[in-house]
Amino acid sequence: MSETKPVWIARDYAKCSGCRRCEIVCSLSHEGRIWPEASRVRVFMLVPGVEVPHLCAQCHDYPCVEACPAGALSINKETEAVVVDQEKCTACSLCIDACPGKVPYMHPGANYAVICDLCGGKPKCVEACTQGKWNALQILEKDETHTYKLYARTPEEVTRELAVQLYGEKGKEVM
């Protein structure tokens, strides 16, 4: 058994530059090529300048895993990340409906859902964000008192708030 404790990816949207290097390294690591739409973290830019990296927050009650009728989703004991069994997944999209942040989505080139697997505890996206010195994504040790579901939010919700935070009143008009 590994001694490493589970981690989670803290996100500070206002610091995201929109460079999308997280998408580049994630897809390279999972797909062997640059493939932004197959990246397990996707940067939404519903409003220019308002970039929202969207990825799994590992809710404590895992509603996606609960909702899967095919038994394709499970929880990795070491990392506590959601693991998709690509053979079992039927792409029924019930996991998406169950997720409060609508985070999972279908792989653009195959018939299964993709969800962040935390790269086995060393997420590439965070490495890229750290390399870029943005620190919009950071690795923190998991804390039992913390409600991770708070981070499972739709990009629309986050954008609406952030647009006003950045642009003031104008932020209400632009989305």
Partner: protein, 622 residues
């Protein structure tokens, strides 16, 4: 072909037809993509009747091209081209952002748009192909409104077509504002509210085709490359180098609105009447406090030279733009006598919304203000606008008129050079001494009188892109500032800011090899490949037409103003020396393979197998 998505989308807007077009390895190896390929496509299709083609008419071709390096190399850009309504030649005008990435992920390396649509339309591009959609509801809409509607419409359409896939990211949108719709020659092709391909005036071309926007969402992977691991290694190396030299990351070019004027004396002040100022109120600290984001990057870039400047309170509330960068601090700031960060942000945000290029429109606004200062244009001529230096609201009012070609705006919408001809006609006065333009293209905000800035004597006069400060003629030809190097970046199509550091510069050749598998040597590039593109651009520029034609003896010259001494600042008294300038021009001609009259020699063109270019050039000289 490694590094390429493999096909180009050709849209015939007159007949609402579309097809895929492919180019063979020989063409791509020789012309790469972006600016190089644009020169090739335009020459092949329009070269035989170049002089007759109206840039704002149905015959012109609008090109939106990526290159094999786009997306792989940090800082993705798109190259916009066609016959330029400013120079009547070919200009490769680039704009950063995610659109070129979406296009490549949808399977296209570029778009070739011909003809004119009867009604306003936009293109909607996905993995399954392209469609022409009605844009009546978007016509007349400004930038922010256009993006808002198209992002919403695009996502709804994608969700409808592919239900159960999950949330759709926004499609990327390239568009024109009201200025492009009005075929304004200083209109840009815009992206992400604040980004624009301004040089060349292609917003007017897109508008003339009634093409309001192109919306793209691709879900495929990037093209196959020769060696992906190597691409990643070179990228890491580049990022490391660029972190050491982080001036752009810290300030963008936006520190220069004060710095270039105060230190280098090469910034346009009140339509270039001065190039020096010491206005502390225009310091970067004043801009910095209006940033809401310290870094705003385009795809893959960690230099992030853009910062988001926003006015959240007060009478100018609601203005949003990217910093502005140096060029726009200068052209819609100091050039208009505007020395307040808030006012500069407001004006730039307005120009973005209207789809006007900050440099090109800023130049014509400054020109108009000087004519007003001199009493040549009256308040009556300006439809009642009191166009005094520094009057932000007055410049805003005039910009709005230009965007819809209303009143005096209709004349100024032609750009400074053509407007001057028109004013000469109506006023019977030669206003050319106040024109700071090179072959129809407003000169970027880097003067050469002080001799302290990067452009040299021949830089603008001999450039095939006129006043474009990102593509200047320079000897030696392989110098970092050289136009032949600009062709490399613009054909790749990537941002040259990530190659500013001299240690990063050689990495471009490595990227080419790792991505395309082609070993392009600097010798080959500077002696052959880039020369071919340069000469085609030069010949197209010399053929010109239909409204203007350039003669090197007359027009490979500098603005009259630059031969007058600087009146203020540490370099007061300095001016361009005509003899030295002519000497530099002569040297450049010889270096690049043009004769003493600035005409590419037959020997040079034939050496590069450009026999048909040579033949048409000789015919036109008869």
């Amino acid at each position: 072909m490694l590094g390429y998505a493999g096909k180009f989308l050709e849209v015939d807007l007159s007949n609402q037809r579309m097809k895929d077009v492919k180019f063979g390895e020989e063409i791509l190896r020789n012309y790469i993509g972006g600016r190089g390929l644009a020169a090739k496509i335009l020459w092949d299709r329009l070269g035989s009747r170049w002089k007759e083609v109206d840039p704002l008419g149905p015959e012109n071709i609008l090109l939106l091209l990526t290159g094999p390096l786009t997306g792989f190399v940090p800082g993705a850009r798109l190259c916009v081209s066609g016959k330029s309504p400013q120079s009547n030649g070919i200009i490769g005008s680039t704009v950063g952002g995610e659109f070129p990435v979406e296009l490549r992920c949808a399977g296209y390396d570029g778009i070739i748009a011909t003809g004119v649509s009867e009604k306003p339309v936009y293109l909607f591009i996905t993995d399954s192909g392209a469609e022409i959609k009605d844009a009546s509801h978007l016509w007349g809409k400004d930038g922010k409104e256009t993006v808002k509607i198209l992002v919403k419409e695009g996502r709804e359409e994608l969700e409808k077509r592919f239900p159960g896939r999950g949330l759709w990211k926004e499609p990327a949108v390239i568009y024109v504002g009201p200025a492009g719709e009005s075929k304004v020659r200083v209109a840009s092709v815009n992206h992400k509210w604040t980004h624009g391909a301004g040089y060349g005036g292609y917003g007017g071309v897109m508008g003339s085709k009634k093409l309001k926007a192109v919306v793209a969402k691709g879900t495929g992977p990037f093209p196959e490359v020769a060696d992906m691991n190597r691409v990643s290694e070179i990228t890491d190396k580049m990022l490391e180098i660029n972190f050491k030299d982080n001036n752009f990351r810290r300030w963008g070019t936006g520190y220069a609105g004060y710095d270039v004027g105060a230190r280098l004396s090469s910034e346009p002040v009140r339509n270039w009447q001065d190039e020096w100022h010491d206005e502390k109120s225009f310091g970067v600290d004043r801009f910095e406090r209006l940033w809401v984001k310290n870094y705003w990057a385009d795809f893959g870039c960690v230099t992030a030279c853009l910062k988001l400047g926003v006015i959240r309170d007060g009478p100018l509330k609601g203005a949003i733009t990217d910093n502005p960068d140096y060029e726009n601090q200068a052209y819609v700031g100091t050039n208009l006598g505007v020395f307040k960060a808030e006012d500069n942000i407001y004006l730039m945000s307005l120009l973005d919304d209207l789809g006007l290029c900050g440099i090109q429109c800023g130049n014509v606004l400054g020109f108009a203000a000087e004519l007003y200062q001199r009493g040549i244009l009256t308040r009556n001529d300006l439809d009642g606008i009191d166009l005094k230096w520094g009057e932000t609201r007055a410049f805003a009012a005039l910009a709005k008129k230009i965007a819809i070609r209303e009143g005096i705006g209709d004349i100024l919408a032609e750009g400074t050079y053509r407007a001057a001809l028109k004013i000469k006609e109506t006023k019977g006065l030669d206003v050319s001494p106040y024109v700071v333009v090179e072959k129809g293209v407003a000169i970027g905000a880097h003067g050469i009188r002080s001799g302290e800035d990067y452009p040299s004597l021949e830089s603008f006069a001999c450039s095939v892109q006129g006043g474009d400060h990102t593509s200047v003629a320079f000897v030696p030809l392989d110098h970092e500032n050289s136009e032949l190097r600009a062709i490399l970046y613009d054909s790749g199509v990537v941002c040259w800011f990530n190659f500013f550091n001299e240690d990063a510069r050689p990495l471009l050749w490595d990227f080419f090899e790792a991505i395309t598998g082609w070993k392009i040597t600097p010798e080959e590039w500077f002696n052959e490949t880039a020369r071919r593109v340069l000469h085609i651009q030069r010949v197209a520029l010399l053929l010109g037409g239909p409204d203007l034609k350039w003669t090197p003896k007359v027009h490979d010259d500098l603005p009259p103003r630059w031969f007058e001494p600087l009146s203020k600042g540490p370099y007061a008294g300095r001016a361009v020396d005509r003899e030295k300038f002519e000497e530099a021009r002569k040297e450049y001609y010889a270096e690049v393979g043009w004769d003493e009259n600035g005409i590419p020699t037959s020997q040079e063109l034939k050496r590069l197998r450009l026999d048909d270019v040579d033949r048409r050039l000789r015919e036109s000289l008869k």
